[in-house]
Every structure is written in C-alpha cells, then in structure tokens.
Amino acid sequence: MHGSPEEFRAGISGFLGGYYLFLAAMNSVLAFHLWHNKHKVAQACVWVVVTFVLVAIASAAMGGSPPGLPAWLRDDVNAATGPVVYSVGTTALLAVLYLGRRFFVRPMVAWSGLNLALVAMGFSMVDENFASIVTKPDNVPIVGLVFLLGFFTWLATSQAVENDDRAKQGLPPKEKLDNEKVLVWPDLVYTELICMIALTAFLIVWGIALQAPLEAPASSVKTPNPSKAPWYFLGLQEMLVYYDPWMAGVVLPSLIIFGLMAIPFIDFNKKGNGYFTIEQRKFSYLIFQFGFLEMWVTLIILGTFFRGPNWNIFGPFEYWDPHKVLALNNVDLSQYFWVKGMGRGLPKAPPGSGLGTELLWIALREGPGILLLLGYFLALPPLMATTVFRKFFVKMGFIRFMLMSNLLLFMAALPLKMALRWTLNLKYIVSIPEYFLNF
C-alpha cells in the first residue's frame, strides 16, 4: 500500500473530491426536503451553508490539497490510543449516548453527528497510514457495519423514545396505530421486489468498484504478521489477549451461542413484545447492548483497525511498525500471593511424589485463585439472589435465576479480567500449565 507519497496524494485527492461532493449532495437534498416539504426555512438555510462548505472542501480536494488533521493532533491521538483509553472511552461514549438518548435521537442532532463522523473520516483519510488500513478491501465492510449500526441504533432508539413517551401519557405504542390490514399483494411483494433490485444493483456496483482481495499464494512457511482471523471472529481473537485459547476460543464462544439461545427463556418480562421500547425492559436492553455493541462490535473494530504486528495496539494514524516493542510483564495471582505477599517461593511437591500428592500441592499453590473463582461462581449467585436481584429471584425461580446469574458472571469475566490486567498486570487467576488449565 505504501507507494510514493505523491501517488498516494493524487489517488486520495480524487477519491475525496467525489466523497465530499457526495456529502454535499446529501445535505442539499435534506435542505430541499426541509424547505419544500416541511417549510422549515431557517433549518434549510443551515444545511445549504453546510452544502457550500462541503463543495468548497471538495474543490480543494480535487485541486490536490484535501484538508487533513494537523500533525500534533494525529500524534496526540496515536499516543493516547491504548486498550484502557479505547475500552473505557467506547463504554463512556455509549453510556453518554444512552443517557442523552432523548437529545441524540432528534433528527437534526443525529444528522449533524453523521456529518461530523463522515467529515472526520474524510479528514483522516489524508493520512496514509489511516487510509491504508481503512481501504483494505476486506476492511471496507466493517466501515459499512459501523455506519449501518449507527443508523439502525438511531432508528430503533428514536422509536423507543417515542413509545416510552406515549406510554407515560397512557397511550399504546405507535406500532399499534397501524392495525389496519392490507393485502400482501401488492403492498408487501412490491416492497420486496424493489429491495431485491436495489440490493442487486448495490452488489454489482460494489463488485465493480472494489476487487475481492487475493494475496500471494498460500505458503505454510511465510507467516504474515499480524495473522488475523476473519473479521467477524476478531472479537474472539481479542479475548485471546486476556484468556487462554480454551476459554477465549472454545468455552466463551460456546457460552455466547448458548446464552443467546437462552435469552427468551430467561427474560420473564412480558412487556415490550412486538414494539420498540427501552423503559419497559431496561435491564435486558442494557445487558444486550453492552454485550453486542461494546463486547462484540467494538472489539471487532479494535481487532481490525488497531491491532497491528505482534498484536500490538497502534494508533489510527500510526505506521504498523513490526519492530515496535511493548514491555509486558504479567504476573500470576499465585506469584502475587506466595512470592510478593508471603515472601517465599511457590509451593512445590517434593521430587518423586505421586500424582495425588502433586495435585494437592498444585491445589495449595493455586489455592488463592481457586478460592477466588469458587467465590465468584458459587458464592455470588446466592448473594445476588438475596440482595440486588431479590425480585428477579422470586419471579424467576431457582433454575432460571442460576442460569442467568452464571451467564452474567461469565459475561462479566471478560471486562473484569481486562481491568485486572490493566491495573495489576495480572496474567492468570489460576495457572496450572501442567494440565493446560489457566484461567
């Protein structure tokens, strides 16, 4: 990807020129709609101004000098990029969007957000390192996914906010208003036909514009660095940083699938069936959104755009230097307890002892971690049932509650382990390499 800087600039200038013209067209259509259909002249004027600014930027780009981000800002962003800032930052961002949802779902606010995101992306594309990663053919769908998810989350949230307002006034959800029955031919089959034609056209344009990737022939001796799984599994690959493969690659993915299947049998809330709402099912909504948006999608984005050679984290404008070295000195809990806490060596079975004795010594060595895990998985559920989740427990009964609390605890195990790694450099809570059993 790294051709000469002049070639890169010429290529990206043309692309960005078209890109900004498209944004300008998008805004001018909105301005026309506001003025002509909604008679909101003041708002229309704002978007006309935005259109002109975008046309000006487009002409600058086509003239060969697209505006970019200043070097100091890019350096600061690169320097700030790290697992803590990324994870805490995305969580905080989602929390702000959730808490301020009444404000953010307003069409004009959401539209401004979309414009800002698109312009920020255009400005970033001037950076060669950013462009080379974002425009990699197999990464393009993920850029699409980010914008699609933004749009659909907005669509769902704005309807949920509307329905929650209606519920407060004692009105039924708006989905109930269109109770009238229509014939499937023509009302549905024509929509489907139009969808199919539009999608076919979209795929053909995509196929012509972007060639499917084909790298050098397979070679089992030349390992690429980084070696990445297909993009939709990068969340799982990210978990490998914190858990061993048996957890990150086998147990946790199985639990994700199992947990998804269990949702309808755990969720005893009868409300919110068949319409968008947040207030009426806050708990299940928040758990699902945290799991899907934060622990699945943002980890995929991290794995795709930020993980470079040696699985190091790189800033969005940073060159993927394979020689970047990060000091990593992770310590097991047993080390913390015996060596640092008690000031002695790790307990070790006397040489020549039998299997039983050896296992006992291992249990002693890993005792603190084993106790911690037993407490987490066995003592917490009853504690939850008698305190914060008391009402849940009464309504759900024993089996359902145990199922839910254990799934939640497994789900929470990932962010907890992340936090422990960042703060204490903790490697394993229980580390039994003799039996490949590290947790």
Partner: protein, 257 residues
Amino acid sequence: MSIGEMIRESQVWKSIFRHPMPQDRRNRIVVMLTNFFLHLHPVSIKKQGIALSYTWCMGGVTFFLFLVETVTGVLLMFYYRPTLEWAYNDILSLRDVTSLGILRELHRWGAHAMVITVWLHMYRVFLTGSYKPPREFNWVIGVILLLLTLLLSFTGYLLPWDQLAIWAITVGSNMARATPILGHEGPGQQLLNIQGIDMITNASDARFALLGARFVGEETLNRFYILHCIAIPLAVSLLLAIHFWRVRKDGGISGPL
C-alpha cells in the same frame, strides 16, 4: 386480440397461473394462495408489520443474499477446483481472464453483507422483543442460523488458497486444539488415556477432525469445500424452511398485542 391476451388465454399459460392477473381484490388473494413462492406469505398483513421502520427488511435481505450466494456459488463451482494445484490459479484466472469473473466479487461481498445483515436482523428482533412468547423457539433456530452463517463464511474464506485464507483459517482453527478434553492442548486432555497411552494427540483431536490433518493442507481444503458447498447449505436450507414456517405458525410477524 393482442399478443399479450393471446398468451394469457393460451392453455400453457393457464396451466401455470390458474387465475387472471392479480388486479382486483379477489385475484390478489388467490395469487397468494396458489403460487408456490408466494404462499410463504399470508394473504393480508397488518400495516405495521410491513413498515420498513419496524422490520428494517433485514431478515428478507439476509434470505435474498443467501439466494445470491447460492446462485453465484453454484456458478463459481464450475470454474473452481479445490486442489492445491488449481485452487489459487482458478481464482487468479477468475480475476484476470474468465468472463464474468465478477461473480467472485459478488460472492465475497455478498457473504460479508450477509454476516452484517444477519446481525442487524438479530438486533432488530431483540430490540422489538420479538423473541418473547410465543416466538422463543424461532429465536433459537435463528441463533443456530446465525452460527451457520458465520461458519459458511469461515469455510469459504479458505477456498482462494492465498496467504489471507490459510492464515485466517490457521488462526481460527488453532482454537480447536485447546478444546477441553478433546483438544491435544486443552485442559483435561490427559483424562482420555488407556494404560498410559494418550488417546488425544495432535493427530486425533478436535482440530484434526476439523482440518483433516495436523495443519491446514489439501485435506482441509477438501473438507472445507464440502462443508461450504454442500453440508452447511443443506443444514441452512432446512433450518430456513423451519424458521419461515414458524414465523407463520407463531402468529406472523410480531407486533404489539
């Protein structure tokens, strides 16, 4: 009599379509009942149930992409040979020489799009609470279909046999080696042994079953090809049929009670 009328009055036409054009209310109902493809749908539906702001059309788009993948996939199978000798070269010639080599682009981008749309479909179904009774079982089927979609994409990823392919599959399938008890580097692997001889080695564990070899090689290519083109699509087709049938039997598309 115009040509159109002559065709529509002919015995052949009438043998296929057993009623006049669906232009009045009666025939619009009859067409839904007598056409094999249309009978997936009910005759009439609540207006809310077809509002795009509610359905996002994502289930339908996913199904349509599955059809696109099937058609382009079958056509690609005419060109592509899953052997070490030919796999890469066939893809190369699809790109550079073969007419309509764009089929590969359609197939690959369609596959990425299908993964995205199936997530969006799940997202919508969750956010509208449509998994709640009586649709619990259909949600379970949907989760299996989601998993199979990912596996379809994963098995297809290997077939171009380039660096991207084999290393993505190597990274992905390395996990299987750590399967508890059944992977040769998994916890509890020592449990399965007979008189001190390990039953689970790198030539008999879960990863070997997936790859057909100790590393990603020709056996893997063959295995993934069959999974990708035959085994998983068959399973998906069956589950899709059940999924659609259950949508109807569980009361049609969800909506407020």
